[in-house]
Amino acid sequence: MDVGAGATRQEFSLMSVALVLVFAGVITGFNLMRNGPVGPEAVPEYEMYSNHSFSFSHLKGMSFYNGSLSAPTSDEDCGYLVGVTEEGCLWPQEIIVVWELAEEEPMLNESLEKVYVNELMDNVSCVRHACTRENVTYHEALYENFTALDPEGESAPGIVAVWWCNETERSFAVFMLSEGGYSCYGEQEEAFLELLYSFRCHYGRWPRRGRLPETVMDTISVSLMVLFCVGFTFTYKMEKFPNFAHLSYATVGSMVSFYLVRFMRLNPYDTWPFAALVGGLLGMVLYIGVVRPVGDSARGWNRDIILTFTFYIIAHTMVSVIGMFNYWTRNAMGAPSTGFVLRGGDFRWGSLPGIALIGPIACGLLVVALHFFLTRTRMGIALRATAEDEDLAATLGIDVYRAHLSSWFISGTLSALAGSIITLWGGMGLGATDDTFVMVMAGSALGGLDNVYGAIFGGIFVSMAKKTLGNLLFMVFGLAIKPWERLLPIIFLVVILMEMPNGVTGIDLRSSRLVKYVQARFFGQIHGSDGGGVDD
């Protein structure tokens, strides 16, 4: 029989189809008898609440309503939530989360008393049961079951937990009071504990420390952009294709810093060498694992196009990998790694944070060091020679493999270091690099994709122009321009590639009509090969 294809009508005869139906019916009947009509029992579903810089999971179908406490602080630092279950859900009917700023660490016993007195209820006495010490996101918490008794003798069971978050300097109280005679010791307690143990109270911010001044932020932003542009251009010059994964090193660098600060308790500045090393090694791995094999099997444009697409996919995959890392840190370690800022570990320099000084200086020193490396060391000169003409460099005895490997290490190091610096300055997120990458490409194109020094100029210009142009457009169009701001980097890139495909360093000033005019007008002579006069 010709199995699997070209079945004839005889193979689907009435008898055979009837037999199949009977067979499927018997199996289904057996399963129905064994399992009942609905199948495996459904487990309760949970969803996530995430706002006010904290998050927790709660039973699906529960809605939370905001309220603010009478305090002179913003509602993010101080407020309360009332969670109510949807009609039809059995438990829990109401959960309340209260949080407020505390100058000093409060005594937990006192906090618990305060909850009973202030938050819970009037004209109600409480019979308190076993008090337990628990951990909520690494903070010690008091957790207690109680029974509330009103003057008429009606009783309602409840649960309360209090703790202080030293990272955000806020005290938290979560409590649930059961109504309608439901017990707080079965499924209700499970739902409450799910909320409690999933609570992340320092959701990536230090609320007591304000934003950096605009000028400081701009300076750091420009410095980082220069680092990114230089690294990107460096890779392009060596390999002749745009490395779409260049900013992935930055994300990796920031994650290394995050991990070492959060879980190993290192100072953020101490993490820079580690982040740089990981970024550099990642660059080397990409060269050995991807660029070299592709280079061996394809030449010319084919190689460049394959590598361009490959690195686009790598960049995309890196986002997923970082997403997995984030999930792991959030669920297994209790600290989300997106949108975090490590500014709490920074030192103060007068009224400014240390990164305002260290960031730009570090970036400047790195660029200068790169210049000396490329012009004064044997390896640097070998790198430049390889970038100019690989075959010629190889015939001159230069180890081109080592040269390529070094260039990937250097560009990975620069980018990862920049990512590590970002963690002290602004939030780092999964998609944070998308816009930045277009800016980096625009900066590198402006500086000339073959010119590392031009990338410095390009990085500075693009970074400042984006800010200035954004402000100008905002003055003209108001808030309506905000959704379109993300297009600015793309517009930059398109305009630069159309008008100056070789970048500013590719412009021959001597042939500029304006320069010729100035020379003729003020110096009375014309330089240039054409020897012609000035057109009117």
Binding site: G4, A5, A7, S16, L21, F23, I27, V38, G323
Partner: protein, 334 residues
Amino acid sequence: MGQMPPFVNITWFLLRFVSHYCAPTFIFLAGTVLALSTVKRLGRGESQMDITLRMMQRGVILLLLEAFIVAPAFGSSSFYFGVIACIGVCFIIFSVLRRLPPIVVLALSLVIVLNHQFLSLDWIPDDTWWGWYLRVIIHEPNHDWPPFTGLYPVIPWLGVMGLGWSFGTFLSGWEHSRIQELKPYLTATGVISLVSWFVVRLVNGYGNLLPRRGDTLVDWLYVSKYPPSLAFLLWTLGGMCLMMALGLHLQDRPHFGQGATGVILALGRTPLFFYLSHLWLYRMRLPGAARPLFSLPLFPTLVFWLLGILVLWRLCLRYEVLKRNYPTSILQYI
């Protein structure tokens, strides 16, 4: 799965509901086409091994398309296990399953469709990422553990594809000149499916992963798609059979293939290209952009959708020509 989301009104509900036909029809017909093309290739003298490898290749390409084109269009990570990935895995499985006798494939498919709701995956750990992801891929669609999310588990949809495969093998033995004779069979199957759907919803037990909560139209029609319950498949595949019968009926009419039917045929000749391009066309924003450039009320949205269909129609026509000009390129897979 889960509780009923708050639909604004019946119109909104029906607009969502009508899209339920897409996935089952897509997967069923993928199985049908797979069977027909296999018969064709065997007839041309291609070896079984070549056909198996080709099916696997197609499956892998679909997985890549899901990861890098479809998932980003939904704003999901590359690990998202969606309908295209599901079809890809089903193709890979069918590269082996196809060697079974067609009647066995039909029996297995029916058993899967009727019994997958009893499947318990308790033996797979759900506290490790790989266990969770495996559950998502096999039978437990959800979004709870990003990036290991997915809505189209393989097991139930493999059954649907198997039904399609069986239909395809049946069609391959049917003389083309007698194709119109299929009309009453398709109509009968469609009507029986819809009657069965009514009985399943009325009894409100077996076959309903989401039980009927009341007696409004929404209560009756709100069936579980993730994973597909028997009620869902009876309604959608029954509707598909009726639509196929209608197609056969229209096929002999004058002017068939012109006007609206011409547009539908053009879209249907390049289904995967249409699917991929419609995602990005209606998304109206670049990868990574969180919000659309604009949002519209219901009626302008329908106008916008129609305009999109016109654009896609032209695109599909051009793509068809391109595909015809380069028959051995990668375009043959899309």
